[in-house]
Each structure stands twice: as C-alpha cells, then as structure tokens.
Subunit: 333 residues, 2 copies
C-alpha cells in the first residue's frame, strides 16, 4: 500500500455536526523504519465521545485539529513489518482510525488474538464498548445482589452490553430505547422491562411502573429527561454510573440539567462520572467473563455496519440520529 485516504477536520461545528465538517485527503504512507509496521485498516470505530473532540476545548483527549487527520479506534492487518513480534497478516488494534492505513511504531499498536470471535468484536462487544459497561456496573455503581438496574440508551452499543451483563449476574433490568425495533431487540436480549421513551408521554411514570419498588442502579448513557426519571424512581442509596449524556452533546448552548437533582439528598444518591480509560486494568477479568457468558449463550450484540471509508462521517453523524442498533462500525474494503 503506497497511499491511504484519511479524514481530516475541516471546520468545527456549532451544535449538530454535518458532513461539511470533514474532508477526505490522500497521503503517501512512508516505508516502515526499524521497529515500525505498516497496517491496512479493516474496521473503524465511530463513537459518540468523538463529538467532544470536535470542540476546541480541553478534555480528557485533546481536541481534533483543523486540517489534521482524525484518530479513534481501528482494527487492521499488518502488511509490512520491521518489528519483532509482528508479522504480515497479524491483526492489530490501534488508535489510528479514520484512515485506510498507516505506518507507525509497533509499540503503538496491540496484537490481537480474536479467540474465535469475528475480529471486529474487539472494537465492539468484547472491546472498549463491553468493558465500559462492565466497569460502569461492577466498579462505578458497585452492583450487588438484588439490585434493580435501569439502563438508558439500552439498545446502543454500551447499553445493550450493560443490560446483558446485569442479566448474566441475575438482576432485574429495565431498559429504555427509542422505537419499536429497538424495544424488540431489548426483549431479544432478555431485558425484563423495555421502555420505548419515544412512545411514553411520561418517562418517569413508565420507569416507576416497571420498577414499582424503585431502582438501585442507573447506568446513564443519555442524561436529560432520562436522568430526571432515574432520580425520581431511585431508592435510597441508589448508585448512578454516568457513562454518557448523548442528549447533551450537540447543544450549542449546553442544555439545562435535571430538575430533580435535589432528590439526591433525601435519597442519598451517588452519581459518578467515569471514563473506561480509568478501568483498563479490568480488561482481563472482563474478557474472561465475556468468553464464559458468550459460551453460555448469555450475550448477543449487534453491529450497524457502514461500508467504505467515504461513509465514515455519515456513520458518525448517524449516532446522533439513533441510526445504530448496537455498535456503529465502518468496514473498509
């Protein structure tokens, strides 16, 4: 491979991003130097958190820069290697996403043993997506026997894994998602009470009907009205793992927060924001549980696959329209 097409940031959005914020460019890939590899990407990950990187503000990852190539999760195949331990044909995980290929030091990619799973699973259910759900439930929310669990964005990549991990551990699970198709998927993965928030005039009432004695754990992917409903339905001592607030990411002016926040005091509610990057040490334990639960038929996941590097921005923008069920991935040719 001599050239690679890659996406660059053309402009920063105010509010909802559009395809105009991205531009495709072609670059020549250098020959790998000593200790370097050249990789052809097979799969790219697009994720809601990337919206934050389009803003020019400090955060846990640096902002994307105008005119520069974007980055993100990617899965590829080594084509040329000048490094010990990696050979052509080896699969590697990397953060060199939004591009067809790259040349880089071998130390910046991770060799992947797919353990009999389709390799892109390691960008979705068995990768950071599943680990996020696992860490949020077990470490952040400190899930314990008998807890009733509410998951928002439950048909999404992280949400559907959170629902199934909670079910695999024997919990009653309430999941919310938008539309009949997603609700059908929630039932398919064993969610006890599937709430279609688009069809519910009163989300709080719907959660209360599903959990008449209240919820103990809330796994938040949405924020906004969903967080309000969780506060209203929470039992004393409830623990909220705040994983995402997709409802707020594209507001030019940040939207107002939940009106019910004062319930935190009377109910002694704990809310804890987290990033999966703080819990990477859990990966071996997660993968062991994942393999076991998968073998027991307790895990299902979906991928929404968009084909072709040219459609990467479209896949990304679709996340904010709810186009995906499960993890949104881009498959390269």
């Amino acid at each position: 491979m001599a050239t690679s097409r890659e996406y660059r940031l053309k402009s920063r959005p105010a509010g909802m991003p559009s395809a105009d914020n991205f531009e495709l460019a072609t670059v020549n890939l250098p020959e790998p130097g000593p200790g370097e590899v050249q990789v052809r990407n097979l799969w790219l990950s697009v994720d809601p958190y990337m919206r934050g990187r389009m803003n020019d503000e400090p955060s846990y990852l640096p902002p994307w820069q105008i005119g520069k190539v974007l980055d993100g999760g990617a899965l590829g195949e080594v084509t040329v290697s000048n490094a010990d331990g990696l050979r052509p044909g080896d699969l590697v995980n990397s953060f060199y996403g939004w591009r067809e290929g790259f040349t880089a030091p071998a130390a910046t990619v991770q060799k992947l043993d797919p353990k009999g799973l389709p390799p892109q699973t390691f960008l979705s259910a068995a990768g950071g997506t599943g680990l996020t759900a696992y860490a949020g439930l077990l470490e952040v929310a400190r899930l314990k026997d008998g807890d009733v669990v509410f998951v928002s964005g439950a048909a999404g990549a992280v949400g559907s894994m959170a629902c199934q991990i909670a079910k695999a551990k024997g919990h009653t699970v309430i999941g919310s998602a938008g539309g009949p198709e997603k609700v059908a998927f929630l039932k398919e993965i064993g969610v006890d009470h599937a709430v279609d928030y688009k069809a519910e005039p009163d989300l709080t009432a719907a959660v209360r009907r599903a959990a008449p004695d209240g919820i103990d754990v809330y796994f938040d992917n949405v924020g906004g009205d969903h967080l309000d409903a969780a506060l209203a339905a929470a039992r004393t001592g409830a623990r909220f793992a705040i994983c995402g607030m997709i409802s707020a990411y594209n507001e030019a002016q940040p939207a107002a927060g939940p009106r019910n926040l004062r319930m935190m005091m009377g109910k002694a509610i704990e809310m804890k924001g987290f990033l999966v990057t703080h819990y990477l040490g859990l990966q071996p334990a997660f993968l062991a549980d994942f393999i076991r639960w998968h073998a027991e038929g307790k895990l299902r996941w979906r991928e929404t696959v968009v084909q072709g590097i040219e459609r990467t921005p479209e896949a990304f923008l679709g996340l904010f329209r709810g186009d995906n069920t499960g993890k949104m991935l881009v498959k390269l040719n």
Copy 2:
C-alpha cells in the same frame, strides 16, 4: 406550665412560603404520666430542610400535616419529671420544636451536658449543623491531605462550619456567600478566598481565579449556578458532597439543573447526596474534635437569634431571604 402555644400548618405553599401558611394555637399540656416529663422549650431550630416538609410528598421525614403541630429541633428544660434519670432543671434536646413546651415520654428526649458551652450551641455549631459539615467533608467527600475545598453558602450555619473544619485540617478553602457583610465573616473565620456571588458577573470565573489549579472537594449548600461553577472548576476525581440546594427549594416548578453535568464523565466527578441522619454515629468523634478545635481557637460561629415563639415563621422565612449569618434560632422567653 399548664398551656403551650404551638405552630400548626394552616396551608401548603406553592413556591415561596409565607406567614399565612402557619397558625398559632394554644393547647393544655397534660400532667406527665409514669416515665414522662414535661419540658419548657428555651430554643427552637428553624432549618431550610423544613421547606420540604411543607409539601405533601413522601420524603425522608413525613410531610407536616394541615392543622397539626409542626416539629423540629428544640432545646428545653425539664419542669416536671416522672422518669428516672431526669430532674427538673435538666437540659434536654428533642424534636418537639415549634412549641413552647410539651409532655412526652422521657425516652423521646436526650439529656444534654453542655460541656461549658452555651446550651443553644447544641442546636447549632456543636449539634446537627456542625455534624452535617463534619460528615459531609470527612465521610461523604472523603477529604484527604492537599485537597482544595470549595464551600457554597459558606456564611450559613453548615457552610461556615464546613469552612472551619477544612481549615482546621489544613486545607485551602474557597467560600462563596452573598454580600459584603457575609464576605467579611468568611475572612474572619479564615477562609482563604471569599467570593461574593452577588457581586460576581461570572461565578465560574471567580471560582477559577480563586483556585487556578481547580478544586478537589465541593461542599454544596446551594445547587444551581454554584453547582455549575463547581463542575467547571473541578479537577479530575473531584468529590462533591451534596448537602443542600437552597436555590431550588421554593420553585413551584423545580428549576432546571446544572448545564455542565456532562463534565462529570471526562473529569470522573463523584457527586453524593447525604443526610446527617445517616451519620449520627460520628457524633462522639465530631464532638471530641469540636471541643479540641474550639479550645485551640479554630472555631467561630454566629447565631441569628429571633426572640419569641410568635416570630418563628418569620425566622424560618428569613432563611430563604438569606437573613441569617450562621444558624437561625428562635429564643423563647
């Protein structure tokens, strides 16, 4: 004492309460039966949390009932005793507030040893007020060496104790309060950076100036804009003890929450609501520290005293206008 005047709930407010929501009545006090005492109250406590009890909604304490006597913290003197261990003249703490006197089982009052302090201190700095600050900082926010602490409502009863406990433990403290008089009090009690939120056009900028490297602990008495500023100024891993949200208590429609809540994820912020009633086991440790810090000259407190049972509603309503510096108390004749 044969009769007692007492306040009853006349009507429930929508939004800000008024004197019309209360009515004064006179009752005859029964003679104490076996195991009972009769008590003349000397001091009554009025507190922001009582606003919640005016609403007809379930909470950690039952709602006050229309036509029934109100309750709350009180300090009194035994006048008649039919119980072992209590004699006329003994001081007692009880929850029989909003009234001049009462007859009750001795087991429902607590004999008080004032340890050389003015007895009403046990309704304020040395009582639940100080314990709330102590528990919020040490247990809820898990204060640790080097933490920079931000306290809102810092000139209030709980807030001023939180500031001084943090200072006694060697921390840098930023306190916010409204108006020059309260700010002067904050300086008097040793707060490092006193912010007058009424004079600041941008509270977030003011907190950031006071804590250029960010805050580690936020003790929230206010909610709303103050919580927004704390989220913006928080360092990674910051812990928020959510003690009160006085800014939200009198909204007929609950006010919208903080716009910055999504910062919880990137900064891995923990917010925990709490009630002092879950931490009563800390009282002996708190009192020992209190006596020591007081002897070392590290604690000051103010009381705003309103004289006469008739003015109890006025004292209570004054809490929401910020009339008090330190604990608001009603002194009976």
